[in-house]
């Protein structure tokens, strides 16, 4: 497995502001993923972030709202831009180690007022 950390672990933000979430993994990985999990709900993939290429976004998610950086093989950031209360959620990053096996970080709990 891998040790995955996320910062911040939680935050309370005002609407209209932006928050950047960091994901750090203790080994080099090619594929990193960002998910959203709304309270009591399942996980929804936001985008896939491969090092050296532009992130690939899922239907319903756009780069202007959720810009992603992937500067190296151990780090990625997700920014939630121009936040509204509907963005209140848990944001999770995951990495793929062995073929098709994904491991998740602890999540960032975001509350937008």
């Amino acid at each position: 497995s891998a040790v995955i950390s996320q910062k911040p672990s939680r935050d309370i933000c005002q609407r209209g502001t932006s928050l950047t979430i960091q994901c750090q993994v203790d080994s080099q990985v090619t594929m990193m993923f960002w998910y959203r999990q709304q309270p009591g709900q399942s996980l929804t993939l936001i985008a896939t972030a491969n090092q050296g290429s532009e992130a690939t976004y899922e239907s319903g998610f756009v780069i202007d709202k959720f810009p992603i950086s992937r500067p190296n093989l151990t780090f990625s950031t997700l920014t939630v831009s121009n936040m509204s209360p509907e963005d209140s959620s848990i944001y999770l990053c995951s990495v793929e180690l062995q073929q098709e096996t994904q491991y998740f970080g602890p999540g960032t709990r975001l509350l937008v007022l």
Binding site: E96, E100, F104, G107
Partner: protein, 115 residues
Amino acid sequence: QQQVKQSPQSLIVQKGGISIINCAYENTAFDYFPWYQQFPGKGPALLIAIRPDVSEKKEGRFTISFNKSAKQFSLHIMDSQPGDSATYFCAAQAEYGGATNKLIFGTGTLLAVQP
């Protein structure tokens, strides 16, 4: 076709009993089926996974049963313990054109094991 249907939504089991959670899928391209366990305030943790070339996989008290023809798979937790109380997610994954591997998650099952 991309959905994974999971049931039940919630489950209450007595300590020592068997917990059974079921999932079904439509997309025959799925070739990897993991189960994740999530405790409150934590990220999902990989519990056990199976590929379609076997019908059953067991790790300790956790067993996956896989029925390829019915496109169904299930998680069995034997001798359930209060510490197993968590939300369980099934998932399915297929390789798309050799590029992105996307995990499709079920809706989750909240398991409560009563002492």
